[in-house]
């Protein structure tokens, strides 16, 4: 069926509403990659089996990720006139209990996470009320969604549909206001008006650089040429970052709708989504979504009868980090090696196949339909002076609550780490938070009250990047962190520029020297000099930002570097070659276990038996290879590490 009018769209909305809020009980399992990796697939199977076995009147459904990845597998139960219940950490063994307790109007208390009595429809600014009439037994005291500290300060625009809809059903996306913005764009707005609206909204590119999206669209529209491209960058390569993956897996149509609107505004006829091949589920969801959009006439010839034609191709990236850089990405689509080129002539003038091309990140495209629907006035009220809207971060590392967090710009790092993230586990002390992916910087505790926006993060030597956020505690060594990221970058640099290829390699080499006890006092200055040249003299943004981990750790944790170099100590006790293991003779029980496990036979002493008194054990520092086996084996805490 092809959608021809707004009435057709409304009809599909009604169909979607019946899917979203059926008359039967609906059990949904969060089955994005984060859920699947913790066993959501098996949970889904178990629930399905149980339903089939008992021939129960229950719909078993799958959704994307609702954000709190740490609590996966998340399962929610919807039934008319009852609160929607979310269970956390569900295992296949407990599937039947969940179902039968619910059928019995009861709740499984120990798995209960939170409840919802309504849901927000961001695109249209509506609230959908569940019209609660009866409460299951045992629900008292369950927090509402917004009372969960993890969700309390979040504002979901980009992740509006993730976890709420089944990404395979376009009708469910439409039900929550999807594709109505496209309708508005095609029939009620001129391309210039759309661009103006995006400009007014203050939306800036979510891929990292933060270039104003409206301005980019405008210069691409004004570029000469009848053939133009719009591209979506889904080559999310930062270690520990998965915002784009979640959006594509949980709400692929939001990106597609954004791209169609963008293409109409710019005057492009063809689009590409460059998605990394390591995201098989995202690719699968995108394929389904594109096909559905084509069937409904939302993509292809004469979209919705407007006369405008546009199509989207999927392009799978081969796994090079550098292909997230715009010109390298375009080279890759052209079938060439993913190498950046000089951009003195912008890609909006001459990009893919030398045609004007507009590249935006997944999250940027995803924001577009909301802006058109709610208006730039509404959107620009969220955020700070120069950074508008919200940003999704993947909060990972040494923090209690890990997951996807969408917050308004301007929120402080402290709020993200402590209020949303729940602070540092195990009573340890916070040390730093690394933002912006491998080429971001490490921000120390003294700057925790920094409001998160594009410019402020750059000022302190880090960057917004695509939204990775790694929290580190006192057991993290900053030299080791810098070394880790340099290792990543020296592998992932395309290798074209001498400064980037050799610069990252040499920085890694020097950091290795420092962490292995061969650091020299002049190394810090040499690192700073190398960092400066790599940033200033390399061609693309990868080289331009690559030294950030090194420079920011030197800037904020110079003492730690000096401790490694001058005193040959690693205060965080991470750099193995710098550690010294010592057995405390007064604590040693002379059990001899340490000597037994030592692979180098570096521990000597005499085991205490009933007949013999024994001699406390000792480590020969010359022989010790600092593997830590003795330390891990000793049950009496008789081994000290310095």
């Amino acid at each position: 069926m092809r959608i021809q009018s707004k009435e057709d769209l409304e009809k599909l909305r009604n169909k979607g509403l019946k899917n979203l809020f059926p008359m039967k009980i609906k059990i949904s399992v969060g089955m994005a990659t984060c859920g699947l990796s913790t066993g959501a697939g098996k949970v889904y199977e178990a629930i399905n089996k149980e339903v089939e076995k008992g021939k129960l009147p229950i719909i078993v459904n799958q959704t994307g990720c609702i954000g709190f990845c740490q609590k996966e597998p998340l399962v929610d139960i919807f039934e008319q006139r009852k609160p929607r219940i979310f269970y956390q950490g569900v295992t296949p063994e407990r599937a039947s209990e969940l179902i039968y307790q619910w059928l019995d109007h009861k709740i499984v208390r120990d798995l209960l996470f939170f409840k919802m009595e309504s849901e927000d429809w961001v695109v249209e600014g509506k609230k959908w009320d569940y019209n609660i009439e009866c409460l299951p037994n045992g629900i008292d005291g369950t927090p509402y969604y917004h009372q969960v500290p993890f969700y309390n300060k979040q504002l979901k625009i980009a992740l509006r549909n993730c976890g709420y809809i089944n990404p395979d059903h376009i009708e469910e996306y439409i039900a929550r206001g999807g594709y109505f913005s496209l309708f508005k764009a095609l029939f009620e707005m001129k391309p210039e008006e759309i661009i103006e609206e995006i400009k007014q909204s203050g939306l800036r590119g979510r891929g990292g650089a933060g270039f104003p999206t409206g301005n980019k669209w405008e210069s691409c529209r004004k570029s000469k040429g009848s053939k133009k491209f719009v591209l979506c960058n889904a080559d999310e390569g930062d270690p520990g970052a998965y915002m784009d993956r979640s959006i594509l897996e949980g709400d692929p149509h939001s990106v597609i709708e954004g791209m169609i609107i963008g293409a109409y505004a710019i005057g492009a006829q063809e689009g590409f989504i460059y998605v990394r091949d390591e995201y098989p589920l995202a690719i699968q969801k995108l394929k389904i979504a594109i096909q559905q959009a084509q069937e409904y006439g939302l993509l292809g010839e004469n979209i919705l009868g407007s006369g405008f034609s546009f199509n989207i191709n999927l392009f799978r990236g081969g796994g090079a980090f550098v292909c997230g850089e715009s010109t390298a990405l375009m080279a890759s689509i052209e079938g060439k090696a993913g190498e950046p080129r000089a951009k003195h002539i912008h890609t909006t003038e001459s990009g893919l196949m030398d045609k004007p091309s507009n590249l935006n990140n997944v999250e940027t495209w995803n924001n577009v339909p909301v802006i058109l629907s709610r208006g730039s006035d509404w959107y620009s009220k969220i955020g700070t002076e120069r950074s508008k809207g919200t940003k999704v971060f993947s909060v990972v590392g040494k923090v209690n609550n890990t997951g996807l967090v969408e917050v308004p710009m301007g929120i402080t790092l402290r709020e993200i780490v402590y209020d949303i993230g729940g602070g540092i586990p195990g009573g340890k002390k916070f040390k730093a938070v690394q933002t912006g992916g491998p080429s971001g910087g490490c921000i120390p505790e003294s700057l925790l009250d920094l409001p998160v926006d594009f410019d402020r993060l750059t000022e302190v030597g880090s960057m917004m990047g695509s939204g990775g956020m790694i929290v580190m505690d006192e057991s993290t060594c900053m030299v080791d962190v810098a070394k880790y990221f340099m290792n990543f970058l020296k592998d992932e640099s395309c290798g074209k520029c001498t400064t980037c290829r050799e610069g990252t390699k040499r920085m890694h080499e020097i950091l290795t020297e420092i962490s292995e006890g061969r650091g020299k006092p002049e190394h810090i200055q040499l690192l700073e000099e190398l960092g400066w040249v790599t940033a200033e003299a390399s061609l693309c943004a990868l080289g331009g930002t690559a030294p950030n981990p090194v420079l920011s750790t030197i800037r904020y944790f110079r003492q730690e570097y000096e401790e490694h170099i001058l005193n040959k100590r690693c205060p965080a006790k991470v750099c193995r070659p710098l550690l010294r293991y010592r057995i405390l003779p007064e604590v040693c029980t002379m059990c001899g276990r340490c000597a037994k496990v030592c692979p180098e036979k570096a521990i000597s002493g005499k085991t205490k038996t009933k007949k013999e008194r024994g001699i406390p054990f000792k480590i020969d520092e010359q022989k010790c290879i600092k593997c830590g086996m003795c330390f891990d084996t000793c049950k009496f805490e008789a081994i000290e590490v310095d």
Binding site: R341, H344, T498, T499, L530, A537
Partner: protein, 237 residues
Amino acid sequence: MISFKIDGQWVEGREDGNILESALDAGIEIPHLCYHESVKPYGACRLCLVEVLTKGRSRLTTACTYPVLKGIEVLTQTEKVLRARRMVVELLLAMCPGDVKIQEMALEMGVKEVRFKKEEKDCILCGLCARVCEEVVGANAIQFAFRGDRREMVPPFQGEAMNCIACGACVAICPVDVIGMKEEGDERTILRWKRTLKMKQCKVCGNYFAPWFQLEKFKEKAKLPNDFFDICYTCRS
């Protein structure tokens, strides 16, 4: 032509040209390795760094990739430029300590010591050989392999470069002279690409003058008569 200033001196540049080309034409020396007038600018070696002032903003960029534009001012000798350039040479020297050309450049720029572990490479990865092979010769015999610090210029799959016609363009263009060509009897070998080809003998003078494979390619490309290359270039003229 577009006029702009380099180090205070007015120079002329082609409309679709680059800064380095204009500077060299005007006799202003900017050190460079990966640039050659016969192929497209690439910007890999980062030696031709200059400061470009536009609209009151200054940026460090490579002269070979920066287009000639109205109103720009180029500075080739600022402290920033020299500092960056010295580091680039030091990095190249640490990578290829045996390259005479790099040694000379380092000496000229006052780089006396290398503060990094010396490696034993000889290729500086400028890519000129592959670019001349693709853009000028059209043989596409070699290309970069791998990325990051494992990057290498190699024949396909590190075997023999089967598309190589042993024309020697890469040998001639290599700025550090590390490709190497050898002729022995009726054979010509391009050492680095492990390519050995039989040569054709001139019917007049009897000299071996060019590889068979190369001449066949030329004939095919230019649609020349079959006996066109029976006589060598010298005997023909």
